[in-house]
């Protein structure tokens, strides 16, 4: 092979051509006959041998790249079961399809032979396959391709013999026949009937798409491949499946729940049917947002070509599809399966109602959340893809139209909230879906966005509305990309254009100002955002006596700005005003109300009004559950918000429950690691730790770490923190050695990310030192503490919380060396430093106090020790929430001090309380629990 030259090949090739057509047995003879050159013959044989190879590296690659499969390559003419392969007639994600024949006495049966890519090796798998096949063979319906036969080759390759359908994909068929909307709907209803029949027989298709819905020359639709996806999932070994990476469904048609293993029901088929319907009616799959739900208007992608093959015009087609059809599609494409049609029959029925002019059952869709908290605030990593901009330019034209439609609908609906406008969503969608690490330079995208802008300005001079839309959209995109300066320009232009054309008091101008203020917010320019908003609100009020959602929105955003600047009373007042206004303007279940409630709750929370905040967030949780269901990201977020004020008001168990549920939802719903998920895990971990459940908190923090490592493979300050959190849990459970290694990793990360002179470094060293002390590695700990103290003193002078923390470490070290005097001195100095800046119940301050109390005890000063422990335990129990381990440690110290002072009776009582606390710790191995147990034993 290495010596193959074009010249040699030109001699080999014709021989090969002749031989490949011959059955294998006859080849040798033919070759001998036709070729006298020894070398040439050898070369030809070599190639033939390579041809015969079953599954090589190349086959692997081609299969996994997703196109063809090895299965198709060498099978022509081969026998599979009783069938002989004629030719390949297609490739699918699951396997290759061949035209095959079977000779019987009476006739030649033509079948579509489908070979699956999964190998069934165990007899259990084979039995499962056969069982599934018996089910499918039962499906007898005029619109479902019959499965005649199935088997497994010797090589373990499963195959089906199905009715061979000479037809084309339903979309192609309709286009070629130029079927109008009514005819397409009727055809679609037939398809729904077939799916409903299968559902009655407990078979879910799972991979409905036009290529699986063929229509023959008589116009009869036939569905293929029922349930094969399920079959593949169940019979293949999961790890094997991922390795060989066949795909049991087509992502473009996959319902959101399909992308995660889990509950697939008949509603999954409804989703796919919805997409097919959209494609049949508009020529394109409905555009969807990140949750899989329909976004934008259904009439977005209509073009003359699309209308022509539907025997209509763009205008009448758009008219035809608005309203009912739009609603039917939206319902089919709900992210939550329970909100879709319950089955294909229901979908079919609604279409029928529509055709009969009766009211349909689809509900209008929920509006999209829009708020400081909800919008993902991550910077997009360098996402630029030149084609995005190219699409922007291309899309400007149709999205202009779409935006026009959306706006007039919005006006008709009387609500600005329907400003999930086409341009922005479409473009944002593009950006949301782009991945980091793109090879194209960022500048290109900027250039292209500029070009798009210029084009819009030039082309739409006479349509200021559309211009403003494009400007805002581009601004939004740049904002999302983290390019705050680049976002400002188009947004400022949008504001001035809107002000000029519509007036400074026009709601549209106010909206544009709000968008601009968001950029300010992102750049932390809260004061200037506040100014802008106040000015714009004043202008609006001067020009309008009427309230509007634009005003409510502006008030709400202003509230957020006030909050960021800690003007809590103003923030609360503004949010309340906005909320009241929204309630007067929009339906009660509107997302704007949710958003504002959250803003208000946030402000109340900051103001320490935890109970009110908790109430409000509870309401939000209930509303979100009602609107979006129990398994939705928004519900998870709402639960997360609820947790903080619950904790603050001491309801730790409730907080824990809320967070647990949020974490569970996140696990189920998020397909990829993201900051929402990690934030929620962090909150849960913190809550668990406070409740003394260190082991559980360790698990939760580890889960967080796992996600963060995936999110930030280059490292991130959050990872350093999470490592410390895990280490803290480990230390609390008496595993300092493991804590040490994590703390070392964290320190290394901190050094890399923040640099050796960063304030946090000292604390990182101190934490590590304490883990070493706990293992008795005193000599290793010393230099770390010295370095930390030196750095902190240099930075802060004589008194600072950081120095105090270092001193606590120094005290521990001294105590380990049995130098109680030095330990007492250090810990008392630390406590004094803390006292000037922290409340009595603060864990750090308590730690210093307890440490000094321990020293007093060790020095024999029992009375003072008792007093100090007493004070500390009272303080610990008053914490919001009280940290269980600290309370336990305080009580333990008190009990020991009382005992040492001879007051055994009191000591027993105190110890009983200590045991109660210790019982709430979820690991008996924690040093505190061990100590308590020992003391209890000695008192018996």
């Amino acid at each position: 092979m290495r010596e193959l030259t074009p010249e040699l090949w030109s001699r080999i090739e014709p021989l090969l051509d002749a031989l490949l057509d011959l059955p294998a047995e006859q080849r040798a003879a033919a070759l001998a006959r036709d070729c006298s050159d020894e070398q040439l013959r050898a070369a030809v044989l070599e190639v033939l041998e390579l041809d015969a190879r079953d599954d090589g590296q190349f086959d692997r690659v081609t299969r996994d790249v997703g196109a063809s499969g090895a299965a198709s390559a060498g099978l022509e003419g081969r026998a599979i079961g009783p069938y002989r392969v004629q030719r390949a007639i297609g490739e699918g994600g699951m396997g290759a399809v061949f035209l095959a024949t079977r000779e019987t006495a009476e006739f030649t049966q033509r079948v579509a032979l489908k070979l699956l890519r999964v190998g069934l090796f165990s007899s259990a798998q084979q039995e499962m396959f056969r069982r599934e096949q018996r089910i499918h063979a039962r499906l007898e319906h005029p619109n479902i391709a019959r499965v005649y036969d199935s088997g497994i080759t010797d090589a373990g390759v499963p195959y089906f013999a199905m009715e061979y359908i000479d037809g084309v994909a339903v979309t192609d068929y309709c286009d070629r026949a130029r079927l109008d909307v009514d005819a397409r709907l009727r055809l679609f209803m037939t398809i729904c009937d077939a799916v409903a029949y299968a559902h009655q027989n407990l078979v879910v298709h799972r991979d409905l798409k036009p290529s699986n819905i063929l229509v023959n020359a008589d116009g009869v639709p036939k569905l293929l491949d029922f349930g094969i996806a399920k079959l593949l999932r169940d019979t293949g070994d999961q790890a094997e499946a991922t390795r060989t990476a066949w795909r049991a469904f087509t992502p473009a048609y996959a319902a959101p729940e399909q992308l995660e293993p889990g509950s697939i029901t008949t509603a999954t088929d409804v989703y796919a049917l919805g997409i097919v319907l959209g494609e049949l009616l508009t020529g394109a799959r409905p555009s969807r947002n990140a949750d899989g739900e329909m976004q934008g208007s259904i009439t977005g992608s209509l073009s003359a070509a699309v209308a022509t093959v539907r025997s209509s015009s763009v205008r009448s087609l758009a008219r035809r599809l608005r309203g009912d059809i739009d609603a039917i599609l939206r319902r089919s494409l709900q992210a939550d399966p329970q909100r879709r049609y319950p089955g294909a029959a229901a979908l079919r029925d609604d279409i029928q109602r529509h055709l009969q002019g009766r009211p349909i059952r689809a509900k209008p869709d929920a509006w999209i959340y829009r708020s400081g908290k909800f919008l993902a605030r991550h910077r997009l990593a360098a996402a630029a893809v030149a084609a995005i901009a190219a699409i922007l330019v291309a899309a400007t034209l149709f999205s202009m139209r779409q935006a026009g439609v959306a706006r007039s609908e919005a006006r008709r609906a009387g609500a600005e909230a329907a400003r999930a406008n086409a341009v922005k969503q479409f473009l944002l969608d593009l950006f949301e879906s782009s991945a980091p690490g793109d090879p194209h330079p960022v500048e290109t995208a900027d250039a292209m966005l500029d070009k798009g802008l210029a084009q819009a300005r030039a082309g739409y001079k006479d349509q200021p509305e559309l211009q403003v839309d494009v400007l805002r959209s581009v601004g939004d995109i740049q904002h999302r990309r983290g390019r705050y300066e680049a976002a400002r320009t188009p947004l400022e232009e949008a504001v001035s254009l809107s002000s000029e054309k519509f007036g400074p008091g026009d709601p549209r101008t106010l909206d544009a100002v709000v968008a601009l203020s968001r950029v300010d917010e992102a750049a932390s320019a809260y004061a200037s955002a506040e100014q802008r908003l106040e000015k714009a609100i004043a202008a609006y009020r001067a020009a309008n006596t009427v309230e509007s959602t634009a005003l409510a929105h502006a008030l709400q955003q202003l509230g957020v700005m006030k909050l960021r600047q800690h003007r809590l009373d103003d923030a609360i007042a503004l949010e309340q005003e906005a909320l009241a206004m929204y309630r007067r303007l929009v339906p009660e279940d509107s997302d704007d109300i949710n958003t504002t409630m959250i803003g208000l709750g946030d402000a109340l929370d900051h103001a320490g009004r935890s109970a009110e905040a908790a109430e409000l967030f509870r309401t939000v949780v209930a509303r979100t559950r009602r609107q979006y269901g129990d398994a939705h990201v928004l519900t998870a977020q709402a639960l997360g918000y609820l947790a903080a004020p619950l904790r603050e008001s001491g309801r730790v168990d409730e907080a824990e429950n809320a967070l647990r549920e949020a974490v569970a939802i996140n696990r189920k719903v998020y397909l990829a690691p993201n900051l929402h998920a990690t934030d929620t895990l962090y909150e849960l971990g913190k809550t668990l730790r406070a409740a003394g459940k260190y082991s559980e908190s360790e698990a939760v923090f580890r889960e967080e770490l796992d996600l963060e490592r995936q999110l930030f493979p280059d490292g991130h300050p959050n990872i350093a923190s999470t490592l410390k959190n895990i280490a803290a849990a480990l230390s609390a459970n008496g595993r300092p050695a493991e804590a040490e290694s994590l703390l070392r990793e964290s320190l290394a990360l901190d050094l890399r990310l923040r640099g050796p002179d960063h304030p946090y470094i000292a604390q990182a060293r101190t934490s590590l030192a304490r883990a070493l002390i706990a293992q008795g590695k005193l000599d290793e700990a010393q230099p770390l503490l010295d370095a930390a103290l030196a750095a902190d003193r240099k930075r802060y002078g004589e008194s600072h919380a950081s120095i105090a923390a270092d001193l606590v470490g120094a005290a521990e070290l001294a105590a380990a060396r049995n130098d109680c005097a030095a330990a007492l001195d250090a810990s008392e100095r630390a406590a004094a430093m803390y006292a000037s800046s922290l409340p009595a119940a603060h864990p750090s301050r308590l730690e210093a106090d307890l440490q000094s109390a321990d020293c007093l005890l060790a020095l024999g000063r029992h009375g003072e020790a008792v007093a100090r422990f007493d004070r500390a335990s009272a303080a610990a129990q008053s914490g919001t929430p009280p940290v269980v381990a600290t309370v336990a440690r305080a009580l333990l110290g008190l009990a020991r001090a009382q005992m040492a002072g001879g007051d055994t009776t009191r000591a027993r009582v105190t110890l009983a309380s200590a045991q109660q606390q210790a019982a709430r710790l979820d690991s008996a191995a924690s040093p505190v629990a061990t100590e308590i147990a020992r003391l209890a034993a000695s008192l018996q």
Binding site: F58, G66, A88, P251, V385, I391
Partner: protein
């Protein structure tokens, strides 16, 4: 832009070289965008067929193109797709040796990638050798593997019979097996 690309394709089909050159970056970019539009973490591979067809539909006004013009689209799309996948594979390879970390969720990663990445790089090299022996075979492979065209469609594209294409595929495949056997081991 849709009009532009269609025109470019038509002109390219008529032999206009600059038009050909103008095409590739656009197609490349669109495919790249589509390749990354998949949800990260999904247990799915890139279906190059779907991507190329989606790119085609997006970029080209279908009613105006005949099959020979489409050939240019698919040929370019195939090459572009090949480049995208191999680029990613190479980058992934360099990461393994500690050369920085790109969080790139693409097909190779989902496939549990590194082995496949090495495979793909080698196949890419083998294709390069194959092209020297027979560019037509290389084209058939690219169209089939990277553009995901069925043999029937390749036949229309290249104005051949389906049988011929099928045979070309077998020959190409055999040669590639051989070239890969002879290739030096992946580092």
């Amino acid at each position: 832009m849709s009009g532009d690309i269609t025109q470019l394709l038509q002109r390219a089909g008529a032999g206009d070289r600059p038009a050909l050159d103008a095409l590739l970056p656009q197609i490349y970019a669109e495919l790249h965008r589509l390749a990354h539009a998949q949800k990260p973490g999904a247990h799915a591979t890139i279906n190059t067929t779907a991507l190329v067809h989606e790119a085609y539909l997006k970029l080209v006004d279908q009613t105006r193109l005949d099959w020979p013009d489409r050939r240019h689209f698919f040929a370019y799309a195939a090459t572009a797709m090949r480049n995208i996948l191999v680029d990613n594979a190479r980058r992934r390879n360099s990461e393994k040796r500690g050369g920085g970390n790109v969080r790139d969720d693409d097909a190779l990663e989902r496939l549990g990638g590194n082995d496949l990445g090495a495979d793909l790089i080698q196949v890419d090299q083998a294709l390069g050798h194959l092209a020297k022996v027979s560019d037509r075979l290389r084209e058939v492979v690219e169209l089939h593997v990277f553009a995901g065209l069925e043999f029937r469609d390749i036949a229309s594209c290249l104005q051949l019979t389906e049988r011929t294409v099928f045979r070309d595929w077998r020959k190409a495949r055999a040669l590639l097996h051989g070239l890969l056997d002879a290739a030096p081991c992946a580092s």
